[in-house]
């Protein structure tokens, strides 16, 4: 592939690497504790399997992006890399979606189920997790763009003659 095609993908992958690494790190370091009515609230990311899944998927995505950054682009592996890109983009998408669902319950509660919001008691944890989710969302969007761009390169868009 020519240099003009490789540079945008390289920049996008760099951006995705930064986003997924920061999402992982911020989620793993989120912690807060509070004492309400002699009950100790200790909020960590391991308390919820959703957040563990989010941290795991973002770690996998950052490792994969790191490996691909140093990968010489040959056309023989192009299709295989496309399928792997699709899988990683779908996993990132599912992890951010699940975390947003759980985070919404944590922030607003669910009156029908009798679940109280916890963001009032552990605000630092909530803000930390919000930052991690923003980074994860950016990573998911950038990966979708990478996928579209890889499709564009492999399919030679705009050479369809009408």
């Amino acid at each position: 592939m020519s240099l003009s095609k490789r540079i945008p993908v390289f920049l996008l992958r760099l951006l995705a690497l930064g986003a997924s690494v920061s999402a992982t790190v911020v989620m793993v370091t989120s912690r807060d504790s509070a004492e309400v009515f002699n009950m100790k609230f200790d909020a960590k990311y391991t308390n919820s399997p959703t957040f563990k899944y989010f941290a795991l998927i973002n770690a996998i995505a950052s490792g994969y992006t790191l490996i691909l950054l140093f990968f010489p682009s040959k056309s023989s592996c192009g299709h295989f890399i496309l399928v792997l890109d699709l899988i990683i983009a779908l996993l990132l998408d599912s992890s951010i979606s699940a975390c947003l669902a759980i985070g919404q319950v944590g922030k607003n509660g669910n009156s029908h189920a009798g679940w109280l919001p916890i963001c009032g008691q552990v605000p630092k944890f909530c803000n930390h997790v919000t930052g991690a989710l923003v980074a994860g969302f950016v990573a998911a969007v950038v990966y979708f763009l990478i996928l579209l761009y890889t499709l564009h390169n492999v399919m030679n868009l705009f050479t369809f003659n009408g």
Binding site: F41, D42, A43, N47, S48, P49, T50, Y53, H79, L82, V83, L86, A89, L90, D93, S94, S95, I96, S97, A98, L100, A101, I102, Q104, V105, G106, N110, H112, A113, G114, W115, L116, I118, F144, L147, L148, L151, V154, M155, N156, L157, T159, F160, N161, G162
Partner: protein, 205 residues
């Protein structure tokens, strides 16, 4: 140029080419995925359970409260229903285009719209399915750290039905991932073939 087009038309109408087996597989998978996502949408949308439980007892008179569990109490399930409805509509549209679109000559960017639409719907469907799964896991097990009680011990049939809808949605999701990869590969192959023959080729999804 004209003889090349005739050759393409003749080849497509007569002997089944190797590509038509892939098309048949894609059509079959789309049928199954359409029914899977449609059943997931319907089961979750009609998911409702009402239960009267005793909240307190005043003297000997029990105070009863009627609690309802509906799918639209949770934004995750609402997103699940919308995503599955969207995916089933997309599959229906693609099936219609497959059967009616053989006469139409798709030019320029239209053959590219199908893999891209497939990609977008797969993403949305995966987001909806996973959000519903994690919300269901929260409802089934609760979260002791956040003092959130589980609700599945009171509303068993609600939980079972939503679990069935999630299974159907995941079957649809797996099939749609396969369909997406197959349609991308098919578009790639059509692109390479059309580079050799004529620039104008009709593509059937």
């Amino acid at each position: 140029m004209a003889s090349g087009e005739e050759k393409t038309e003749v080849a497509r109408s007569q002997v089944p080419v190797k590509g038509s087996k892939v098309e048949l597989v894609v059509v079959l998978l789309r049928f199954i995925a359409f029914f899977a996502t449609l059943s997931a949408t319907l089961v979750m949308a009609l998911n409702k359970q009402t239960k009267t439980i005793t909240v307190a007892t005043i003297g000997t008179v029990p105070v009863r409260a009627t609690l309802t569990a509906k799918f639209h109490h949770t934004p995750a399930f609402v997103y699940f229903v919308i995503a599955n409805g969207n995916a089933s509509l997309h599959n229906l549209l693609m099936l219609v285009v497959t059967f009616m679109g053989a006469k139409c000559n798709f030019k320029r960017l239209a053959p590219l719209a199908i893999p891209i639409l497939d990609l977008m719907n797969v993403s949305i469907l995966s987001g909806g399915a996973s959000a519903a799964v994690f919300m269901g896991q929260l409802g089934r097990n609760g979260n002791s750290h956040a003092r959130w009680n589980k609700i599945c011990d009171k509303f068993e049939s609600f939980c079972d039905r939503s679990g069935g809808a999630m299974i159907a949605s995941f079957i649809g999701l797996m099939l749609m991932i396969i369909i997406c990869s197959l349609s991308i590969i098919k578009t790639l192959r059509n692109n390479h073939n059309s580079d050799k023959l004529v620039p104008n080729s009709s593509v059937v999804p």
